[in-house]
Amino acid sequence: MAKDVAPERVAAVAAAARIPLPRDGAARIARAVTMPVTRFAAANIALDMEVEPATFVAVQRKDAQS
């Protein structure tokens, strides 16, 4: 489980996306994204293999027809 997000990881992912970061940007971004990343990771959600993004639409439409 991720306890925090390291600035080194932020710098690496941004570099892979070819997006330049300002000086001290990686540290600021790491602080900003730590809450959602760690909160989501902490839930340790086990998704069935069959679940895909479009599953949302199926659930939505099923309720609308009920």
Binding site: A14, P20, A32, R39, F40, F56, V57, R61
Partner: protein
């Protein structure tokens, strides 16, 4: 006839249709009002007075010949400056799109025009719709018509301010993370965040293809229904609307008697300012009086749902803006640039797991609310803060301020649910307070029915600010 600016959209459309007032008279009155208010609240990005007067006269001529285009015949509206009109500027509150001419018209505007409405101009907004307060370093902050030192909420800041100040009877906003409901709450108007897939997003500026929704801000729930009825339904240009139901006007008129409204036991009721807490209690009493059954509900962890929403919006927004972040990063305001760059920091797996979890999360929410037709919660934990106290730019405090303002917003966006914010009280300081009714997928009409019944019992939506 008295000042047409005082009429709701429903009454105005009816008065024009019955020729109690001409479209040209209405347009002229609203243009005069805009002239007085614009220097105080900065709601408009551009006013298109000449084109609007031409459209108004054409509507009057058609009516004189017995031709009615639709339920909004001859009604002047204005919309957030992210709804494209072919051949016209759409600057999206930004420096980057300064001078940008749209190549096509938004489907929502095409449908409103088919219903007989026309545009008075374009409304200011937060840069690229990515901010909840209404601050904008490029176009100037939009100011709250009730107290101009206070925020309007965002990102549909101009839409909230213009409807609140009675400069237009209704306006389109967009809601990806609260951008319709927050301005409705802070400016004392009614705002409908539609079910994802209900209204076409085609040729509206995107922020998050998963979470973006189109919807109206207006004076009343009934007014929102008029706009939603005109704009809802399938559009081949937006595949997410495939199979979307047309608007059901009868369902929007159901009486609340026999409906069930859920009140969450936690999260939405925690740490509220006293005025908001009281507004919620009063609204519960009103719905009880109207015959609705009130039950407590135990929702799944909303902080987890909010975290998933934050991941999805951040990555998708960063993806849209990546080309400009590579080449024109300095042309963004600091806060928007910082928040966009944040989206580059999530891994592919984190993003896709957040996206894949959306279906199971919606199923869990629906199981938790059982047979509830809606849940009733605050829109925010307080009335509008001041512009100064939330003017945090891209500083260290920015994320905390943004998360505080949007605390009750993100679950609705992540779960794709409809939500209606209705004015429900005023703070001791004299600022509006709105509550949100959150519905079931594609049951936007139920929220309209509940909102309209609530507004029949209360008068908060009828109060208007005085010229500052």
């Amino acid at each position: 006839m008295s000042d047409p600016a005082e009429l709701s959209l429903t009454d105005l459309a009816s008065a024009i249709r019955r020729r109690k007032v001409s479209s040209a008279e209405v347009t002229k009155a609203l243009l005069a009002r805009i002239k007085k208010w614009q220097p105080k609240i900065n709601a408009f990005a551009r006013v298109e007075a000449e084109d609007a007067m031409k459209a108004a006269r054409a509507a009057d001529r058609a009516l004189a010949n017995g031709k009615i285009r639709g339920p909004l015949h001859g009604v002047p509206l204005a919309h957030k400056d992210m709804y494209y009109v072919k051949g016209k500027l759409s600057e999206c509150g930004s420096k980057i799109r300064k001078g940008w001419i749209a190549p096509a018209t938004a489907t929502a505007l095409v449908k409103l025009e088919a219903a007989g409405a026309f545009r008075l101009g374009a409304l200011n907004m937060v840069e690229f719709a990515f901010g909840p307060t209404g601050h904008n370093v490029h176009t100037g902050h939009v100011r709250n018509p009730w107290m101009p030192a206070h925020v309007t909420g965002g990102s549909s800041s101009g839409s909230g301010a213009a409807v609140g100040a009675r400069l237009v009877p209704a306006a389109l906003g967009s809601d990806t993370g609260g951008s319709i409901r927050l301005p409705a709450h802070f400016c004392g108007v009614t705002g409908l965040k539609t079910t994802n897939g209900r209204v076409s997003r085609a040729n509206a500026m995107p922020l998050s293809f998963t979470l973006d929704t189109v919807g109206p801000l207006a004076r009343t729930a009934e007014d929102c229904a008029l706009i939603a009825a005109a704009t809802a339904g399938p559009d081949p240009l937006d595949p997410t609307t495939d199979g979307a139901p047309a608007w059901d006007s009868q369902a929007a008129k159901r009486a609340p008697r026999g409906m069930t409204i859920g009140i969450p036991k936690s999260f939405y009721v925690d740490d509220l300012e006293r005025d908001v807490d009281q507004a919620l209690d009063d609204a519960i009493a009103t719905f009880r009086k109207l015959g609705a059954r009130i039950v407590q509900v135990d929702l799944p962890d909303q902080t987890l749902v909010s975290a998933a929403a934050l991941i999805v919006i951040a990555v998708e927004a960063a993806s849209y803006h990546a080309p400009w972040l590579r080449g024109r990063a300095k042309d963004y305001g600091e806060q928007v640039r910082n928040r966009l760059i944040n989206g580059t920091a999530y891994s592919g797996i984190e993003y896709l797991e957040a996206l894949r979890w959306r279906g199971p999360a919606l199923a869990a929410h629906l199981a938790a609310i059982g047979q509830c037709d809606a849940i009733l919660v605050p829109t925010a934990r307080s009335a509008a803060p001041t512009i100064a106290e939330t003017d945090v730019g891209g500083g260290a405090n920015a994320e905390a301020v943004i998360l505080g303002v949007t605390r009750f917003m993100r679950p609705v966006n992540y779960l794709g649910l409809p939500a209606l914010t209705v004015p429900a009280a005023f703070s001791k300081g004299g600022l509006p307070i709105g509550l949100q009714l959150i519905g079931r997928p594609f049951r936007d009409e139920t929220l309209i029915a509940l909102g309209a019944a609530f507004q029949n019992e209360t008068d908060y939506h009828t109060r208007a600010p005085a010229l500052p």
